[in-house]
């Protein structure tokens, strides 16, 4: 999967790119409007991660240009703009999704996955991690073939873990993923604890192994012990 990252801040572009490479994406970086346009003309990308404020132009104009020329790539806007700006002004019109800075990298990853799934809904509908399988279509999760009775939030949480397996997920990142704009509560991290606890219990109750480990004071990680 090929991704074009349009971001003028070199350090941030660097971090995002190295993260995406770790997740087995092919990631190219364009720092300016012109560079991005050139790359988009020459190559095909599955997803374009687009910053709005670019030194030589506005990312929204690039988006309009893409749509006008019928470029098929999905566009995910990454911007320092407030979420309210998007809602009030329809700033993200024509884009597949938007995410506001600062965002947790796993969240970016989950968003890219979601966009890709929307593009080709019938491909690769089941994700697995060891003996856990999750059907993205029906949202059914199974442990060793046994159906888990999960709430919507727990399903969401499990998918987030599987998408970011082997990675540290901070409590804040999980909270942001589960509740999104609904809560600016910093203490919602306590609720994350509850949800993770319930999820782990349901997996072990179904006879599965508890692959989720707690990193004290930080967050959680889904990984298989060696």
């Amino acid at each position: 999967m090929k991704i074009l990252l349009v971001e003028d801040h070199p350090e941030l572009a660097n971090s995002i790119a190295s993260y995406l490479v770790q997740e087995n994406y092919v990631c190219e970086v364009a720092a300016t409007f012109d560079e991005a346009r050139e790359k988009l003309v020459l190559f095909t990308y599955d997803v374009v991660l687009l910053d709005i404020m670019l030194p030589d132009g506005n990312g929204i104009n690039l988006l309009k240009l893409l749509r006008k020329e019928g470029v098929e790539s999905s566009v995910l806007i990454i911007s320092a703009q407030n979420a309210l700006d998007f809602k009030l002004t329809g700033l993200s019109e024509g884009a597949d999704d938007y995410i506001t800075k600062p965002f947790p990298l796993p969240e970016l990853h989950a968003r890219i996955k979601a966009i890709m799934r929307r593009r080709s809904p019938h491909k690769n509908n089941v994700v697995t991690f060891r003996d856990i399988t999750a059907d993205l279509e029906s949202l059914e999760c199974r442990v060793k073939g046994k159906l888990l009775n999960l709430t919507r939030k727990e399903t969401n949480l499990l998918l987030y873990f599987i998408h970011n397996k082997g990675r540290m997920l901070t409590r804040q990142a999980i909270a942001a993923h589960l509740w999104g704009d609904y809560t600016d509560n910093l203490d919602s991290v306590d609720f994350v604890y509850q949800h993770v606890k319930n999820l782990r219990k349901k997996i072990t109750d179904a006879g599965g192994q508890d692959y989720i480990s707690t990193v004290y004071g930080f967050g959680y990680k889904l990984h298989a012990p060696d």
Binding site: L12, S15, A80, N82, L84, L186, D187
Partner: protein, 423 residues
């Protein structure tokens, strides 16, 4: 009190004093001139009598002698004349009246005589006085009526540019894009006032826009470095070479950074709301949005063991932008959950006129109205940034809804009283 009323009252008081003074002067002058006129007549009479004496005929039977007494004086005393005014009983009038006596000392044939003539004077008492008072009272009334009518007309005409300026100031908003609109005036003072206002508001607008740009730019410029640092910490976290001690340090940094980002976002949001131009024509269906928001927060409430009761009247449509209404409700619900007691209660009541969200909780430690301020927290121990109510209030204000907060008997209630929809 209006300016022209004050003028009218001041003018009425001045007129009253001036007229009273005028009345006193007229009265004094009148009474003096009556006496003077009498004295003049008596002088004439004395002259007549003196010339009769000179003619050698002291015609005692003459009419002219009726009120004149003549006394020869022993020595030639060169006194010009004496006047005496005294109250005396006048048998002819059967009343006490002022009597004027004039004595002249003419020399007739080498002898000096004292000729004293007398006359009663009817002074302008009583009847005169009443007549005078009436004249002055009517003058006062007419003047006053004239002043009232004219001041109304004149002030309407003269103060018209001033009133227009007042209206202009009232309609002026710092956040508007156009300069203040003030009509020109031919009056120098008003013109000066207007030009001063135009200059001052232009400067205020410039400063305001500068501040606005600054806050927008600052927060925008800050978000990217924060995002960059956060991404780096996340990458660092995933490397295997970290001991637990280092991980804890990283975690602390990450939490602080998260907090910084939240504060920054909240401030940008408030700055955004500060100059957001609300369209009161947008209606949002609260009867649908309130239960939906409650449902979205249900799991959070459940985990804290809170019991929620809802009373929602159907079909309540309120002037609000949908995104802002959602933001307002999110803040209210998350506050109600965050500041609740374990196993507490939340009550939601939506009627056609207001939304009430009440929750159990500890008594606030600061006066409740202060909680609408930024970074004011009722409970310092909680890990919140204390800007939620400021956002709620601001969103309410945008659409003219009143937001109230009160605490009574263990219940915190936030009330949003809806302004009537336009049209």
């Amino acid at each position: 009190m209006k300016l022209n009323y004050r003028y009218t009252i001041a003018y009425a008081v001045i007129t009253f004093f001036v007229l009273s003074l005028g009345f006193a002067i007229v009265y004094a002058a009148l009474s003096r001139s009556v006496t003077q006129a009498t004295i003049g007549r008596l002088e004439h009479l004395n002259d007549v009598v003196a010339s009769q004496l000179r003619g050698g005929s002291d015609s005692l039977r003459s009419f002219s002698r009726a009120a004149v007494r003549i006394q020869p004086l022993p020595a030639a005393l060169g006194r010009p004349r004496t006047v005496a005014v005294r109250q005396e009983w006048d048998p002819a009038l059967q009343a006490r009246v002022a009597v004027v006596r004039l004595t002249t000392y003419p020399a007739v044939g080498g002898r000096v005589y004292a000729i004293t003539s007398r006359a009663s004077v009817v002074e302008p008492t009583d009847v005169y006085l009443t007549g005078l008072v009436l004249v002055f009272a009517w003058t006062f009334v007419f003047l006053l009526a004239l002043v009232v009518i004219l001041s109304e007309l004149l002030s309407w005409r003269i103060l018209r540019p001033f009133n227009a300026t007042l209206r202009g100031i009232q309609q002026f908003q710092l956040s508007q894009k156009t300069p203040i609109d003030l009509p020109t005036s031919r009056t120098a003072e008003f013109e000066e006032l207007n030009s001063f206002l135009v200059r001052m508001t232009a400067r205020a607008q410039r400063d305001y826009q500068g501040l606005q740009e600054f806050s927008e730019n600052a927060s925008h410029e800050l978000q990217t470095p924060i995002a960059s640092i956060k991404a780096k910490i996340e990458l660092l976290m995933d490397s295997d070479a970290l001991a637990e001690k280092q991980l804890r340090l990283l975690a602390a940094m990450h939490d602080e950074l998260e907090r910084l980002a939240k504060i920054n976002q909240a401030l940008t949001l408030l700055a955004k709301l500060e100059h957001y131009e609300a369209l009161p024509a947008d209606l949002t269906d609260f009867s649908q949005l309130v239960p939906a928001t409650e449902a979205a927060f249900a799991d959070l409430a459940e985990m804290k063991g809170l019991r929620t009761t809802q009373q929602v009247v159907p079909g309540v449509r309120v002037p609000f932008d949908a995104a802002l209404a959602q933001l307002l409700l999110n803040n209210l619900f998350s506050n109600a959950i965050r500041h609740n007691l374990p196993s507490g209660e939340i009550r939601v009541r939506l009627s056609a006129t207001e939304l009430l969200l009440a929750n159990t909780g500890h008594a606030p430690t600061v006066p409740v109205e202060e909680l609408f301020g930024r970074f004011k927290k009722g409970n310092a121990a909680l890990d919140s940034i204390g800007i939620g109510l400021a956002i709620v209030k601001r969103i309410g204000e945008l659409y003219g809804h009143r937001v109230g907060y009160e605490y009574a008997e263990g219940w915190h209630s936030v009330r949003v009283i809806f302004a009537l929809p336009v049209g």
